[in-house]
C-alpha cells in the first residue's frame, strides 16, 4: 500500500512538474531577449527572410497560443520538433544525449559509492586520529572544489601530463566509452564521493555508539563482523537518500563537466539549444531533466521502503 501511495504521489508530481516546466520555459525564454530565427539565419539575413522563418516556426503567433500548442503536444507525449534541426523530433535529438549523461552520472555514482562508502567507514573506524583529521580535511577541500575546476585539474594532470586518459571525446558505444567516461566521472565524483564519505562516517559513528553494537561486542562477535553486519547496513541507509536527492546537482555538474571533456550529453545539447534559442529543445531538456529527478526520487523512496523496516512500520 505504501509503495502504491508513494508511486502515485510521485506520478502526480511529474504531471505538476511537466506543467510548470512547459509553461515556465515558454514564458522565460520569451522574457529574455533573442530571436530564434535570427540565431538560425545569422546577422546578415534580411528582415524579410527572418520574418518568413519566424512565421514558419510559428513564432509570430500569440504566446498563449504557442504555450497551449506545447501543452497539447505534451499531453500526447510529443515534445515537438526542433527549430534548428528542421523537422527533427525533439525526443530523437535529446534521447542520445540523455543516454550519455545518464551513463556518465551512473559511473560517477558508482565511483562515488566505491570511494565514499569504504572511505567513510574507515574514517569512522579511525575516528579522532590524524588519519581521520586529514581525511575530513580532504573531503572538505574536495567539496569546496567546483566540478569544473576539478575537471580542468584532472584534464591537465591525468590526461595531458600523465597521458592516462583521452583529453575528451566519446566513443559512442559501450564498452569503448569506458576509456572516455572515467575521467569526467571522476571529476563529478570529487563532489559526491566526499559527501558520501562524510555521511557514511557520521552514520557509522552513530551506529557504533548504539546498544546493539555494544551488545555484539560484549558477546565477543569479531570486529570485522560487527562492522559488516551491524555498522555498515545502518551507515548505508542515509546514502540512498543522499544520492537520490543529489541527482539534480549531479546533472547540473555534468553539464559543466561534459563541456570540459567534450562529452556529447545533455549539457552540449542544452548549450547549443540556448545559443540558438531552440525553444522546443530547451523545453524538452528541462522537462526530461525534471522528470528524471522526480523518478530518481521515487526510486530513492522505494529503495528506502525496501531496505528500512522502520519506514514500513511507521506507515
Amino acid at each position: 500500500m505504501l509503495v502504491v501511495r508513494t508511486t502515485f504521489a510521485r506520478a502526480l508530481q511529474i504531471v505538476i512538474v511537466g506543467l510548470f516546466v512547459t509553461v515556465g520555459t515558454n514564458l522565460l525564454v520569451r522574457l529574455v531577449p533573442g530571436d530564434p530565427a535570427r540565431a538560425i539565419l545569422g546577422e546578415k539575413a534580411s528582415p524579410e527572410v527572418v520574418r518568413a522563418l519566424r512565421h514558419e516556426l510559428g513564432l509570430d503567433q500569440p504566446v498563449i497560443q504557442q504555450i497551449a500548442r506545447s501543452l497539447g503536444r505534451l499531453v500526447q507525449g510529443d515534445l515537438g520538433t526542433s527549430f534548428g534541426y528542421r523537422g527533427q523530433e525533439v525526443a530523437s535529438l535529446i534521447g542520445p544525449g540523455l543516454g550519455v549523461t545518464a551513463g556518465l552520472a551512473a559511473v560517477a555514482i558508482a565511483l562515488s559509492l566505491v570511494v565514499g562508502v569504504p572511505g567513510g567507514l574507515w574514517l569512522a573506524l579511525v575516528r579522532r586520529t590524524e588519519a581521520d583529521l586529514i581525511g575530513r580535511l580532504g573531503t572538505t577541500v574536495l567539496l569546496a572544489l567546483p566540478s569544473f575546476m576539478a575537471a580542468l585539474i584532472l584534464l591537465y594532470f591525468v590526461s595531458l601530463k600523465l597521458g592516462l586518459a583521452p583529453a575528451g571525446g566519446w566513443a559512442g558505444s559501450w564498452p569503448e566509452n569506458a576509456r572516455y567516461v572515467w575521467l569526467p566521472a571522476l571529476a563529478l565524483t570529487t563532489y559526491l564521493g566526499p559527501l558520501i564519505a562524510r555521511t557514511v562516517r557520521q552514520a557509522a559513528l552513530d551506529a557504533i555508539g548504539q546498544p546493539f553494537v555494544e551488545a555484539a561486542r560484549a558477546r565477543g562477535v569479531p570486529r570485522r563482523r560487527i562492522v559488516a553486519c551491524h555498522v555498515l547496513p545502518n551507515a548505508l541507509l542515509p546514502v540512498i537518500t543522499l544520492v537520490g536527492f543529489n541527482a539534480g546537482i549531479l546533472v547540473s555538474g555534468a553539464v559543466i563537466v561534459e563541456t570540459v571533456f567534450a562529452v556529447p550529453g545533455l549539457g552540449s545539447r542544452l548549450l547549443q539549444a540556448m545559443s540558438t534559442r531552440d525553444l522546443p529543445v530547451m523545453q524538452g531538456i528541462a522537462l526530461v531533466t525534471a522528470v528524471s529527478i522526480v523518478l530518481f526520487n521515487l526510486l530513492t523512496d522505494l529503495l528506502n521502503i525496501a531496505v528500512d523496516p522502520r519506514i514500513r512500520r511507521t506507515h
Binding site: 534580411s46 584534464l155 575528451g168
Partner: protein, 498 residues
Amino acid sequence: MSMKHKAGVLLMTVGALLTAAAHGNASDGTLRIGIDQFPTNLDPGQNPWQQQQAIMHLIAGTLTNQEPDGKQVTMGLAASIEPGDKRFVVKLKPDLKFSDGSALTATDVVASFNYYMNDKTNGYSYTFTPIERVIATDDLTVEFELKRPYPSLPFILALPSSEIIPSESIEARGSKDLYNGDHPLPAAGPFQVQSFGQDQITLQRNSHYAGTQPSTKTVIFKKIIDPAARLAQVQGGEIDWADGISPKQVGQLSAPVEVRSALAINGLSFLSLNNRDSSLLSDVRIRKAIAVAINRKQINEVVHAGQSQPALSLWATASRYSRPFLSADPDVTRAKELLAGTKCENACKLKLITSSASEAGGDTVIVVQQNLKAIGIEVDIVKAEGATINEWLTQGNFDLWAGGSFDVADFPDGYLAWTVGQANEALYSGYSSSEMNRLIEQVNMTTGSERDAAVAALNALFEKDLPLVPTTNIVSVSASRVPSEILNISPTMYLEVR
C-alpha cells in the same frame, strides 16, 4: 580461480578497454577536426556561421571554386563562364556526376537555383536577388538572366549556398525534408556526408568529384564547445585540428602541434556605433574622436596576441579595395580636439555591448574602455550571450558594439551591404545614407576603372561619415598536428583539405 586471480583478470580487461582506442589520424587518411559550431541541418542557406560554412564548403559542388587566397575563382562544375552585362552563359563540364553516380546536368543547375530563389527562408537570398531567371538551353548550358549587371556572380556561384543539388531530390522531397541530416543529399563537392550527427559529422571522399581528388579519405568533425577542451584534445592527440583557439593560448602549444592562422581577405573587427538620434554617437565628431583614440596596436597585442593586424580602413588590409586613413596608434590630443563643442567635451557615458561567449570581444571592450577613458568618455561594458546581443542591436539598445563582419572572398557586394549599406541598417548602426547607397550600387555593378573610381568615392564618404570604427583584421587561429599541405585555413576562412 582465486580472488586475486579474478581481480588481476578484471584489471587487465579494464586496461585493455582503456587502451583500445579507435584512433583516426592523418596517416590513414582520416582527419579529425574539433570545432564549436555545427550545422543544425545541411541547408547552406540556414547555416551562415563561419564554421558551418567551412563544413558546407567541403560538401558543396559549385559551378565555380573559390581560390584559397579569396581573390579569384576558378572553374568548378563549370567548364567556362561567359560574362555579360545582363546575361552569364555557363557551360558545364561533360560527364559530371553526383556522389551517388547519377548524372549532373543543366537541369539540376536550374532546379537548384530555382529552389534557392523561391526559398523565402534562405539566409543568402540577397545573393540571388539580382538574378531574374536561370534557364537551360541544353544539357550542358545554363543561362543566368540578370535584373542588373552583377560582376560578382562568379564569386556568388562559388558559395556553398549556391551548391548544385539533384533536381530529382528537389522534386521528390518537400522543402522541410530536403536537407534532413538523416538522409543527406548526393553531393558534387570533394566530400560527401557519410553521417550527420549533433556531435559528429563524418565526410567521405567523393569518388565522383570532378576536380582534383583530395588525398584525405575521411574528415570527422567533432563538436567541442570549449576552446580549452579543443586545445587539450589536439595536444593529447584526440583530434588533428582544433579550430578557433584563443590566440593567447598559442604559447601553450608544444610539438608536434603547431599554430595555423589566417587573416580574412574580406572583413574586419570593428566597433559598430549607434548612429541613431537616441545615441550620443549620432554626432559624427564623437565617432571620429573614438576612431582616433582607439589603440589598434594594443588591441592586436592584447586580444589577438599579435596574430592580427590593425585595421586602418573600411576594408581588410589584404583587400584590393583597402585605402588606409586611420592610424594604428592613438592620438589623444586630436581626439580631444574633435570632442570640443560636443556633448562629450567634458565627460560622457556610453554603453558598450559584447557577447559573453566571445573572448576576443571581451578583451577588446576592456582596451576600448581604457582608451576612451583617456579622452573623458566613460564606458559601461555590458555582456550578454549572442541571441540577447542580437536583440539589443536590432532595437538600437546600445552605443557601441564590439563586433565584426566578414565575407569569404574579396567581392564587395555583401560586405558593403552589411557594414555601410541598408541591409540590417548597416549592421545595426542605424547608419543610412542615400549617397552611400548610390555608391554601393555603383561599386556592385561596375568593373575595372569604373569600379575603382566608385570604391575611391565610397572610401572617402566612409572616412567622412565614419558610421563604424575599424579596429583589427579578422584572424582565425587554430592548432594543428598535421602538415599544412594536408589541412590548412585560408583567408577565405574555409578549411582547405587536400
